[in-house]
Symmetry: C2
Subunit: 442 residues, 2 copies
């Protein structure tokens, strides 16, 4: 539901946001431009489409000329980088000149920097004082995770926000200080602009065809956006005009989820492993994994989740046949007869992992990810996955084109999605059986 102060989505949409990212390291391809990904996504969630991102060198001349142009065009201009103590660039000075403002020394910033150094048991060096200047008609955004504070200026009906370059400093500052301030001023929505449904195993166009009858009922009041990535498709339902309330959007999303059945993964943006893990935890079940070519990617998908030890027993990366025999009790004769890239071995690995680690479910991947390896029967790109569950054990043969990293990623996603679907079916089965014995309906 919209709070009373929430701006109308349509008024937010007309604000022009630009992002100016500074740094030669971005232009030399040494660092990925994570600020664009992060800030773009955060603004998108609050109903704003960033209009332009410009990355320029650290040269003062380039900064002045670009800042002047971007400032003239924007309602909100965000800059990242160039605020640190060692930079020999003149970002603050260059921008102050264009704004016609003076920089003033702020003793409070020095105190905060000194306190930070003291906590780390070090003494502040003088070059840090460079970070203690703010615009004379501007505010300071304290930095809880580093020395350079952010800077906030409102002038000519526009907002300028200067953020420090390190992502672990920028991201909390943006989420905790910048987003609420922008929302207060009606420059972005005070909650997410859309409800996101994440689906798996259905192509973008098939998904659109399937959901269209629901969307058709709402006409232009409803806006739909699809985004496909790695075997998953996200659907975002929103109402830019504000004609539909958030309660209605939630209801539409629930209807889509119901129609999608087990192709529905989750609301929001949880990973496949997180969704499967939550299903395991809910039933107090455990999982063990075994893998070859994917070499730890399958295990990582689970261990990236905090608290994974509640359901994840462990995994084996079995490159050699020796390791498959030693760690997973795969019989030597099986490997000799069928080879390591075979349905038989995948099954033996899944069962071996579950039994060795005393887990309820065992998930295994073996295959040729390339570029080396492969046989006539099982060329590069051939993957076998196997799933051991309390109900039995199965194997599937898959084939993916593309480079090694792509093959591995798709294999891991396929295995995770299979596990997820089995868990969904098992939990539904339990409900039905409960209904049959206890006379309840789900």
């Amino acid at each position: 539901m919209l709070s009373e102060n929430s701006p109308a989505p349509s008024s937010v949409r007309t604000k022009r946001y630009e992002l100016l990212t500074l740094g030669d390291e971005l232009l030399l391809g040494l660092t990925a431009n994570g600020h664009l990904t992060y800030i773009g996504a955060q603004l998108g969630r609050r109903g704003v489409l960033l209009q332009r991102n410009i990355t320029i060198t650290d040269e003062a001349e380039a900064i002045v000329s670009q800042f002047r142009e971007s400032w003239a065009k924007s309602d909100v201009l965000i800059t990242t980088g160039g605020l640190g103590p060692t930079c020999d660039d003149r970002t603050r000075e260059a921008i102050a000149e264009v704004l016609g403002q003076k920089l003033v020394f702020e003793p409070e910033i020095v105190k905060a920097i000194e306190a930070r150094f003291a906590r780390l048991g070090r003494k502040m060096t003088d070059n840090n004082l460079k970070q203690a200047y703010r615009f004379e008609r501007g505010e300071v955004l304290p930095n809880a995770h580093g020395t350079a504070p952010g800077l906030w200026v409102e002038q000519d009906g526009k907002v300028l926000i200067m953020l420090p370059g390190p992502p672990n400093e920028l991201q909390p500052m943006f989420a905790e200080q910048v987003v609420p301030r922008l929302a207060e001023r009606g420059l972005l929505l005070d909650r997410e602009a859309y409800v996101q449904i994440r689906s798996a195993g259905v192509g973008e166009s098939a998904l659109e065809v399937k959901l269209q009858p629901i969307f058709d009922r709402y006409g232009e009041a409803l806006s739909i956006a699809f985004c496909a990535h790695q075997g998953q498709v996200d659907v975002r339902v929103s109402s830019p005009s504000g004609a539909l309330s958030f309660t209605q959007l939630d209801e539409i999303a629930a209807e889509c989820a119901k129609l999608l059945g087990e192709d529905f993964m989750c609301y929001g943006s949880d990973s496949m492993a997180k969704v499967a893990g939550d299903l395991l935890r809910a039933e107090e079940l455990t999982l063990a994994v075994a893998e070859t070519a994917t070499g730890g990617m399958l295990a990582s998908a689970f261990t990236d989740i905090c608290g994974a030890s509640k359901f994840f027993a462990g995994g084996c990366v079995c490159y050699s046949n020796e390791s498959k025999m030693q760690l997973l009790d795969v019989p030597e004769c099986l490997l000799k007869q069928h080879g390591a890239v075979s349905a038989e071995n995948a099954v033996a690995m899944a069962v071996g992992a579950a039994e060795r680690l005393g887990a309820d479910y065992g998930l295994a991947i073996t295959g040729f990810a390339g570029p080396c390896g492969g046989t006539n029967e099982n060329p590069v790109g051939t993957i076998y996955i196997a799933l051991h569950s309390p109900q039995g054990v199965w194997s599937k043969k898959l084939h993916y084109p593309g480079p090694r990293a792509t093959v591995n990623r798709r294999a891991v996603n396929a295995a995770l999605d299979w596990l997820r679907r089995e868990l969904v079916r098992a939990s539904r089965g339990a409900v039905v059986m409960g209904g049959q014995t206890g006379g309840q309906n789900g």
Copy 2:
């Protein structure tokens, strides 16, 4: 050595390159801007610093206005995206208008697209014909991996290069067609502009102090750039004026490597795991790994290398105590007495992995990566690594601040670097011993 046609580095440096990346998905943070990282790095290797990257929406109006400004400022302008069959934007048309060129239908492109569809056993749909237009005074860059060809225009003493959006189409087109064409025209160097030395375990400023005496001998003829990332620092030596030949740069790099001793990792940009793996392969030695919180990251570092099965036996991700006992023979009493996050357990895991998998080396990581877990004695961020080698077994306690992913990444890097150094020492030991018995000097 410079070939006869090679442009002088200084003339390349004065050319202004801009990159225009198109797409709402970039501005919404749905996709990382990998084109900037890739193209920026490729240009940097050939002596060019990209001056500006601009990401804008797919709207025709935004494209026209940005293209006009960027074209006026650039010597070489590269665009990515907006060339596909389904885009409803007008990228080609918008740019043709600014250039004052007509678009002409090119039957050769249609033939190539039809052939591609035929190979995939599908029929070309009509919307693909949209991709068959080129500029009347321009060329076509064939696309070996997709339907939309690239476009090349030379006009007003400038070059425009339009590339398709999918990275697997763009990257080979850029490397195989664009770079050679630009080099032919003297717009970038025809070999790498620098020699890169990768070091580990020395901070950027300490490295600078250490190498300065070498650099000082060459004065302004030599240019040095440092780039620090994840415990490694890269040093690039180049000669923008062309005063030093590439043979001389190679010699300077070799001198730096010698001075750095075992802090020298490699020339170029191999990963730590690749360097360690090469050392193992050279001696026909094998490795097994065991890990807890890093959950597969350590194993992945090796399995990401093609041909890793030559030296990598396998790994265990042991989340539960049960799995440590079952997979690695860690004694239950040890886990009860010292806990899973202890030097004793790290040692038992390293030895267990090596023994179980019959490997020469065993590398183990256990710890609290956070945000949950941790004790008074071993707070979040505490990591134990252990290395089992033919010479014995050791353990180290480390502590890293920061979020889970950072702690894990640093723990993996520390373990890999330890292994690398041990292998370097072991191989040197062999040389010294050979020298002692055979009367040779290294």
